[in-house]
Amino acid sequence: MVPYRQPSFNIGIEEEYQLVDPDSRELLAYLTQSMSRERMLVRERHPELDFAQRIGRAAIEVGTPVCVDIQEAREELLRIRSTMLRLGQSMGFRVIAAGTHPFSTWSEQGALIPRYQALVEDMQIVARRLLAFGMHVHIGIEDRELAVDVMNTVRYLLPHILCLATSSPFWQGRDTGLKSYRTVLLDALPRTGIPNEFASYADWQNYVDTLMRTNSIRGPGEVWYDVRPHHRFPTLEIRICDALPNVQDVLAVTALIQATVAWMVDLRYRNMSFRLYERTLIGENKWRAVRDGLAGRLIDFGIEQEVPVTELLRELLERVEPLVDRLNCRAEIEHVHTMLERGSSADQQLQIWEAHGQDPKAVVDFLIAETEGLP
């Protein structure tokens, strides 16, 4: 028998950045800096801005490599973000990372450059309004069967992680009453949300192949679940997080994702498994995460009780504790405790908004400061 290969638990982080006008604070363009494309994808509001042309060269330099641990990921993330800031300075825009822009509306007149026309046509209006920015975390699990196994088990903890990674309480100038409005925007698309359980990698492949054969998707990259085995990289990709302004938060959430994945593998190796619950049940917790973030209660299905999410996250931190040193991420995991006391970016944004007479521009300024304030 061939034993499972021990995963590398390599880390890759993909972020989406919003480029904003320093005066109006309006959204001008956004960038998806994607591992899968090995270059940046730029969408801009007015073709004459010509960011795509101007960024083109720099973007090639920015592509995310795979990092062996969170320390290397920290270096890379800082490198990418400082590159972005330099670009911003030279071209006269500011950079923010957040799940939504607090007030900008990108209406019909916002033209798209022809290069990206194809994508938009398929998605129609949904894509046009999809100004929702996420952070995707890749964790290296080279054995594809194991990747599917971890996908099944880790689903349960995605709402918990989302609570930490909420940064989109506003939409088009309004307080949405939610902590992650981005999730609502995103889940309007097909093939999003918490996936069903898959029996094996073959089962997953068969699903994707069926979609391909039936012209539902043009490529396996168009399956956008909150977690998926990546179609090109030997990784499990966790896509549930809002883009986060603060680099320390990004690293803390990434470290927690890595440690949680490693815990799932550790259980597997000891013949154990996190219990598998139905997608519909996990969906209840996801909705609570979207609405209340860290302030809410999630259901602990093991004891069938509602428990404050901060308590559940502390419990999760205890569970992954034995793995933290092996993964070399103690400082990053420590920062999760800070976030639990402080609140998520969404909580911070709401505080700023209230403190400044509900002025969304003040929120943008806060986001600029958070995003650009590199350690």
Binding site: N271, M272, R275, I303
Partner: protein
């Protein structure tokens, strides 16, 4: 919220009745049958198909220590009853040499019915097991526990093996009883039933289609009992030594508690397919403690002893919590010196293959530790 399992213990044992002179199996139960009914003395004896077999069960116990007291009382009772008739009791899963084809069938109508139904197979079923009931209560939790503990059954079987001989021959197996029993339908490691309703649907279908009169005729290696709120572990050869029976029962109890505690933490032991667990079961029946079992988590073959040690460590906390440390201790001894099957084989070799010496050894060991 899922209530804590009741964790009661009940042990049923099937004993051989032998003639201390010939060392062969002897009819016994007929001596207590009058007018087609078993006339019982102090406590209930369940007659079995074969006249040389008696089955007794302990009352509901709450701790391993209490189960030990009750099992001593039970063995003392049946030994005395047999001795009064000039016979002896053996706790072993097969008789070393007595042949099934020569055994008289208990003359009660229900056993004639069994013969009618199962034919030769019923007559061949001259095997003796131990059933351990652990109280759970909640039906869904019972099934959930059953799904998980299926994996550990081969490990537990390896500890209980006591049937290396069959009809006068060394079989080369440690539990020949296992092989004989699997000739029957509805035996072996069960498939996975997610919910109580799924299991009920199966029973209903079997009853409605005249396969079985009720759930008692489902003879899996582990099953939810059809009447009691217990999970019944049935995979075992009867243990010759009483302290080994208690150790195994205590381990079953600890496993049930362990599973419930994990469940409350949203964790479960992996649930594997029946076919994979059957591979381990075969290895346990064939080699007992001397073989390798497969660790399906590691996807590797490992010595059975190491995996059983690991299993005991896994439930260490629960053993402590249940006050079963002492009760479990014989397992460590067994890992050093072997099971009843190993001891029988040693006696057999020492006596130059005289199976009567093995029977004498079994008569003695059946009383070991409580009537020395």
């Amino acid at each position: 919220m899922i209530p804590r399992p009741t964790l009661t213990i009940g042990i049923e044992e099937e004993y051989q009745v032998v003639d201390p002179e010939s060392r062969a199996l002897r009819s016994f139960i007929t001596q207590f049958i009058e007018d087609g009914r078993v006339v019982m003395v102090e406590r209930e004896i369940k007659p079995e198909l074969h006249q040389a077999m008696v089955e007794l069960g302990t009352p509901v116990c709450y701790t391993a220590a209490q189960a030990r007291d009750e099992l001593i009382r039970q063995r003392r009772f049946i030994c005395r009853l047999a001795e009064e008739k000039g016979l002896a009791i053996v706790a072993a899963a097969t008789h070393p040499f007595s042949k099934w084809s020569e055994q008289p069938i208990t003359p009660l109508p229900r056993y004639q019915g069994v013969i009618e139904e199962m034919r030769l197979l019923a007559q061949r079923l001259l095997i003796f097991g131990m059933h351990v009931h652990i109280g759970i209560g909640d039906p869904d939790l019972t099934l959930d526990t059953m799904n998980v503990v299926r994996y550990m059954l081969p490990h537990l079987l390896a500890l209980s093996t006591s049937s290396p001989f069959w009809a006068g021959r060394k079989t080369g197996l440690k539990s020949y009883r296992t092989v004989i029993f699997e000739d029957f339908p509805r035996t072996g490691i069960p498939d996975v039933y997610r919910r109580w309703a799924d299991f009920q649907a199966l029973v209903r279908t079997l009853v409605n289609t005249d396969c079985i009169p009720d759930g008692s005729k489902i003879w899996w290696d582990v099953r939810p009992h059809h009447k009691y709120p217990t999970l019944e572990f049935r995979i075992f050869d009867i243990c010759t030594r009483l302290d080994e029976a208690i150790a195994i029962a205590a381990l079953c109890q600890a496993l049930v508690l362990w599973h419930w505690k994990l469940r409350r933490q949203n964790i479960t032991f992996r649930v594997y397919r029946r076919e994979l667990i059957e591979e381990n079961k075969w290895r346990a029946a064939r080699y007992g403690l001397d073989g390798k079992l497969i660790d399906f988590g590691k996807k590797a073959e490992l010595p059975a002893r190491a995996l059983i040690r690991e299993l005991v460590e896994l439930v260490e906390e629960e053993i402590e919590e249940l006050g079963s440390r002492e009760a479990i201790a014989p397992i460590h001894r067994m890992l050093e010196t072997g099971t009843s099957a190993d001891r029988q084989l040693r006696v057999y070799d020492a006596a130059d293959g005289d199976l009567r010496a093995v029977v004498d050894h079994l008569i003695r060991e059946t009383k070991a530790g409580w009537d020395d």
